[in-house]
């Protein structure tokens, strides 16, 4: 169960990271002056655009994994505590 917990937490953290990246690259497209300055031109408008438009599939995979693992975790605790 400990391994399962570690995997679940890793998936959750990855999901948070992807959400943050999705938002930052989104701003990197529309508010590129600000984002380019903050990231020292690492996230330029085209780079943000490229990342943002290719992020949807990894995001969906991780989101589905997150939902599935959370559901599994809930059913495990229900079994454990007899509810």
């Amino acid at each position: 169960m400990e391994k399962f917990r570690i995997v679940r937490i890793s998936i959750d953290l990855l999901l948070i990271l992807l959400i943050a990246l999705y938002i930052i690259t989104g701003f990197g497209i529309t508010e590129y002056h600000v984002v380019e300055t903050i990231t020292f031109s690492v996230l330029s408008k085209p780079v943000s655009h490229l990342i943002h438009s290719n992020l949807i599939i990894p995001f969906l995979i991780i989101l589905i994994l997150h939902v599935l693992l959370s559901t599994k975790m809930i059913s495990y605790y229900r079994k454990l505590f007899g509810k």
Binding site: I29, P46, H49
Partner: protein, 218 residues
């Protein structure tokens, strides 16, 4: 209770900041039309400001549109000469921005091909490089501009282009992504360098910029 109110105010503030619902203040010299030949048009206020250095304010009294590069006769036109010496045309064209928004607008302008024919392009010229007042550049094949009757617009929805929309001239690069629609045009340079890359093109966007392709494909 105070916490709930603070949360609500914060939430509303975030919505206000990020929804883009704050309308720009533009001075227009006429009332814009919102319908043309039965077609509904977007508003001048529907554009989003995304230029590289913000709005450019150009002085009409010393403005010159330069036609330079591989031409027999280099020309300089004042604003009035440009709009009065060439035939004016109207077109309803939609601008599609790579950011995801689009606007359907009635454009009034002159044909780019009329401008360049007057300067007599030299043999081997294949590219038009457009320069803007803020240093922005972009390029288009000369064949594209001639074959598609591309406009250099000075009116938008029957209103003179305000500085925020590119006064004196904005290129109406129909069937191309928005970054080809250069505003505040000051110079058209004729060149034989078909691989010239403008501001956004040199930073990763497609030089071709065809609407039916991805803006990263060349």
């Amino acid at each position: 209770m105070k916490k709930i109110i603070a949360l609500l105010v914060g939430f509303l503030f975030i919505i206000l900041v990020f929804s883009g619902c704050v309308q720009e203040e533009l001075f227009l010299d006429a009332v814009e039309v919102r319908e043309y030949n039965g077609e509904k048009l977007s508003s001048i206020f529907d554009f989003r400001e995304n230029s590289i250095k913000g709005t450019q304010y150009i002085n009409k009294s010393n403005y010159l549109l330069k036609i330079t590069g591989l031409v027999k006769n280099q020309k300089n036109y004042t604003y009035n000469e440009t709009i009065n010496n060439f035939q004016n045309y109207k077109k309803v064209i939609t601008l599609h921005c790579v950011e995801g928004w689009s606007v359907k607008i009635l454009w009034d302008g002159i044909l780019v091909k009329d401008l360049i024919e007057e300067s007599e392009p030299l043999e081997g010229t294949n590219t038009l490089i457009f320069h803007a007042y803020d240093g922005y550049t972009t390029s288009l094949p000369i064949e594209y501009a001639e074959g598609n009757n591309i406009l250099l617009a000075f009116k938008i929805n029957n209103v003179t282009l305000p500085p925020e929309r590119g006064w004196p001239f904005q290129l109406v690069a129909e069937s191309k992504w928005g970054y080809k629609w250069i505003k505040w045009v000051t110079e058209i340079e004729l060149s034989d360098n078909a691989d010239y890359e403008g501001y956004w093109e040199s930073r990763g966007y497609s030089n071709n910029a065809d609407l039916n392709k991805s803006y990263f494909d060349d």
